[in-house]
């Protein structure tokens, strides 16, 4: 908008300057005749030279030499006033042209070009002072014209300088209305834009409010779902535990306890998921630590001192991986508690979970009695079947090493889930 404004303004200024030059050249023509008819041959040639310079200025401007065009005008006006004031005398009224100098200056330059305006104005002021001093000091012998011619010249100077002033005033008045029109248009556009923006803001606020409400509803629903899931798991777990009170058989009681622990490991997973900010990944370290504590508590009646040493990297798993992983950890620790330390009062379990370039490595060891990991055993043990299923679910490579009296070593490698 600003660029358009400056461009339009500059074009109007150049046009006005050119017209001013044509008008001045036209007004100077009668002087040539008067001077020539009064035998002032050289001054009449000088006047022709001045006219030529006034015509040169628009030519330079058309060719794109705007600065030279303006300099020519400044020189030409100063030279014309100085030369003819000295030649024809101060009282010939040539200096009257200098009264249009401020208007000429503002026609030549924009208000922002302060230095150029000051320099140009200074030349006119200096010119006037010199002309006046020359007149007062009588430094030159003036050409003495006939009184009638003198009066005609004075009248012409007065009338023509007034004409130029009128021309310039009309230009500035037009220019002013041009500014006002341009500003009014710009203002109207701004008002239209402002209304559009206000409408857009209102629309966006409405959308934002709607989205916020939807989000709040979804959060409430999610929280409600979590609450329901946890309550349902609590019901199942509670029923299994309650059933356990009525079961006298130790084997059946153990099965119920194992089932309850599996439920608890899933419930704990939901708890961690609900706590997690991302709502789709689970922080494994804190999860496993809590699970280990829970399993320890559930076997606290066994009165055995089993120390679980865990070294877990900061790993977050998505729910679809965290679920089989958690059940697998639960199964392994439960197996160690149930079988590995049957004939011992104390034992150790070593649990590591590391992040590698390829994915994750889970390593589980105990220093219990170990077992014969024959194919037949793998097929009949539910725990082993479950562990294999969990490993498959994780798309991992599983390795199980165990010999009687040498403990158990289970290793699982699986890749990062890149589905998301």
């Amino acid at each position: 908008m600003k660029e358009v404004f400056i461009l339009e303004n500059d074009t109007a200024r150049t046009k006005a300057l050119n017209r001013f030059c044509y008008l001045t050249a036209l007004l100077a023509t009668p002087y040539v005749y008067i001077l020539y008819s009064n035998d002032l041959i050289l001054p009449s040639w000088v006047m022709l030279f001045i006219i030529a310079l006034f015509l040169l200025s628009p030519y330079l401007s058309i060719k794109g030499y705007h600065n030279y065009s303006r300099l020519v005008v400044v020189f030409d006006t100063n030279f014309a006033v100085a030369y003819f004031s000295v030649l024809l005398g101060f009282d010939s009224g040539i200096h009257l042209y200098l009264f249009s100098a401020p208007l000429i200056t503002y026609l030549l330059y924009d208000f922002s070009e302060k230095i150029k305006i000051r320099l140009t104005s200074s030349t006119y002021v200096l010119n006037f002072i010199i002309v006046y001093l020359v007149y007062k000091l009588n430094a030159f012998a003036y050409v003495v014209l006939d009184e009638k011619i003198h009066h005609i010249l004075y009248f012409m100077n007065f009338a023509f300088s007034l004409t130029l002033c009128f021309f310039l005033i009309i230009y500035f008045a037009n220019n002013n209305s041009f500014y006002i029109r341009l500003l009014r248009d710009a203002n109207q556009k701004l008002e239209t834009n402002q209304i559009q923006l206000q409408n857009e803001i209102l629309e966006k606020n409405g959308t934002h409010k709607m989205l916020s409400e939807t989000l709040r509803e979804k959060e409430t629903l999610l929280s409600e779902i979590h609450h329901r899931v946890k309550n349902n798991l609590a019901v199942i777990s509670g029923l299994l535990e309650l059933q356990n009170f009525y079961v006298k058989d130790e084997g059946a009681s153990g099965i119920l306890k194992e089932s309850r622990n599996r439920i608890k490991s899933i419930a704990l997973l939901h708890e961690k998921l609900y706590e997690s900010k991302s709502l789709d990944t689970i922080e494994i370290r804190s999860y496993v630590e809590e699970l280990v504590n829970y399993i320890k508590l559930s076997f606290s009646n066994d009165k055995k001192e089993i120390i679980i040493h865990s070294r877990l990297d900061d790993i977050k798993l998505p729910m679809e991986e965290a679920l089989p992983f958690s059940l697998m950890v639960n199964e392994l620790i439960t197996n160690s508690y149930k079988h590995a330390f049957k004939d011992k009062d104390r034992g150790n379990v070593y649990l590591t979970f590391e992040k590698t370039n390829e994915g994750y490595v889970f390593d589980y060891k105990d220093d219990g009695c170990g077992f014969d990991a024959s194919e037949n055993f793998k097929e009949t043990s539910l725990g082993m079947n479950l562990i294999e299923a969990f490993a498959k679910q994780l798309k991992g490579n599983m390795m199980y090493i165990s010999k009687p009296n040498e403990g158990v070593n289970f290793k699982l490698k699986f890749e990062k889930n890149t589905a998301k």
Partner: protein, 118 residues
């Protein structure tokens, strides 16, 4: 033996908890489903311990109900909750809280908590 009030809006869980507590040798003085009934039940039965669900379907939450109860009774409370958000815990700890248990509750753990209650 402790005299216990159960505040739980899930009837099945409430029944399971009641059975467990009775099998542990405690007496369940009442089972209610909302905060207002809990306040009334405390006035009426003066229990030793309240087993309070934090999230109740109607009206006030378990913690809000306990804040009201604390104005006239120093009964101890065991909170049961589906989530362990810090803001709940912090607010709950300002009441006469024995424990803040995450569902599903481990009844052996609950037994220990009740044994240590005054």
């Amino acid at each position: 033996m402790k005299r216990i009030l159960i505040v739980e809006d899930d009837f099945i869980l409430s029944m399971i908890n009641k059975k467990h507590l009775e099998l542990m040798g405690h007496q369940v003085v009442a089972s209610v489903t909302n905060g207002l009934d809990a306040i009334e039940a405390v006035r009426a039965h003066k229990p030793d311990v309240i087993l309070m669900d934090v999230r109740l379907n109607q009206g006030m939450t378990g913690i809000e109900a306990m804040e009201e109860i604390s104005k006239f009774s120093d009964v101890a409370v065991v909170y049961l909750t589906g989530n362990s958000e810090r803001e709940f815990k912090e607010r709950a700890s300002k009441t006469n809280m024995l424990a803040f248990c995450i569902k599903p509750i481990h009844f052996e753990q609950l037994s220990e908590i009740l044994k240590n209650a005054k």
